[in-house]
Symmetry: C2
DNA sequence: CGACGCATTGATTGGATTCAACTAAGGTGG
DNA sequence: CCACCTTAGTTGAATCCAATCAATGCGTCG
């Protein structure tokens, strides 16, 4: 099976076998990370990280008062945090949601790869732009949609992103989030998240149980969510 | 008076006279833009834009139903949108809020400047990271703060950013936003925004009238806002 | 002056939170 | 293997924050 990173970048550029090999080589230093581990050695050194196998992680920020906001959901193939080095301090935390694996990459080797191969450089750049577009999309979600559409939208996004990296079969996927974490990502309470998920189930849009999400009505869910995949730049461009 | 761009970058790196001159030269093609103009020729070509003099612009997204979410506020010295070229289509719109001026920069000259001067390259990179940090900060704001703290936070951010570029005197500044636009930025209604602003006034935290904002109690406003300037990386790093 | 953009006020409705209790499922150790 | 404990999910009732729907004031500009 090809790696999630390769699959992801291939939605944007066409890669040849040599390039795929280079990418796999780049990610050869893979280490296991426990669920809920916040001990990615983030500030400690010049490493760059990447989430790898079937897994999830998140950027989040804790607030005085105990509430928490997840600002990004990281799936296999995503860069955990590329730019720690230039900003002296981190403005948010990173945590593994599930047990997962992380590929440790030396920034030098990434830079070398990017400068010797323009196509790969473009692909890396595209990847960070997609991340930014996703941030904007979340902002719209939190600012202007009610709980029902908001959660639907998050589920649509996860469905789309996991489809890209080949982790969806017949619209079924392993949801790497608990209801509590869905709440933290959508800016809702766990209680209201629960009720809203029940409505989505009752309306026949999704099935959800024991961390397994089934999107029963993809266009229906996208419609109530106001979800437009093109805005995340996740669709293959012609040419 | 030194340009907003120079002032902004100098919060991160020390520039010499030659570098300042290069930056000013980079921004020599300045053109006026009308208020509410959405006609930045965004998708049309390979140009890069930069907001310039005393002014404001915004990234926003309109939703079916008529609501709007502002995803970024652009002040003098900010890049309007650096990365249009690589993503075929734009996922959001850009609009001038006030009458302003925009410096049109050819990407080639920006790239040339960045590759011949490592310090400037770092400064540009820092600038985009600050933009991302601001996006995350807004996400926390929309997700986990009530209207009172949320608006306070936005005002704190504007106060901090405009201080950087030298547009604040004795905690007074020209607010480049109407109450409607504050509402669109904070995910609230204009009515509720109005009432909340009145509470902030009544509590002696701010003065606001005819587009002129006075922060009467800076630490007080920051306290109720939960505002931490370090998270936006807007504070001068030692060394 | 009239029109328009912006700000303000009131009354009402509704979505989401809060607080509290309770069930179901999983894991661990005696 | 069952008792125990933890974590995740579910339910109910009361409360509250913010949205909604109008209507009005006010200043500016053509």
């Amino acid at each position: 099976m090809t790696s999630a990173l390769v699959r992801k970048l291939e939605t944007f550029v066409d890669l040849n076998e040599a390039q795929r090999t280079k990418l796999d080589l780049l990610c050869s230093d893979v280490r296991p990370v426990e669920a809920k581990a916040t001990s990615f050695p983030m500030g400690s050194g010049p490493n760059i990280f990447m989430s790898w196998s079937k897994a999830g992680a998140a950027h989040y920020k804790d607030l005085p008062g105990g509430s928490r906001q997840i600002t990004a959901l990281l799936l296999p193939g995503d860069f955990l945090d590329a730019d720690v080095t230039i900003l002296g301090r981190m403005d948010h935390s990173v945590s593994a949601i599930t047990r997962c694996k992380v590929a440790y990459i030396k920034p030098d080797s990434l830079n070398a790869l990017a400068s010797e191969d323009n196509l790969l450089a473009r692909a890396f750049w595209w990847s960070t732009l997609v991340d930014e577009a996703t941030l904007r999309s979340w902002l719209v979600n939190l600012g202007r949609r009610d709980a029902y559409a908001r959660i639907a939208n998050l589920l649509c996004e996860i469905h789309a992103r996991m489809t890209l990296i080949g982790l969806v079969r017949e619209d079924r996927l392993d949801l790497p989030l608990t209801q509590d974490q869905i709440a933290d990502a959508t800016g809702l309470t766990a209680v209201h998240t629960n009720r809203t998920l029940q409505r989505l189930r009752a309306d026949g849009l999704i099935g959800l149980g024991r961390r397994m999400l089934t999107v029963l009505d993809v266009p229906g869910l996208q419609r109530v969510a106001g979800f437009e995949p093109t805005f995340l730049h996740l669709v293959r461009r012609p040419g």
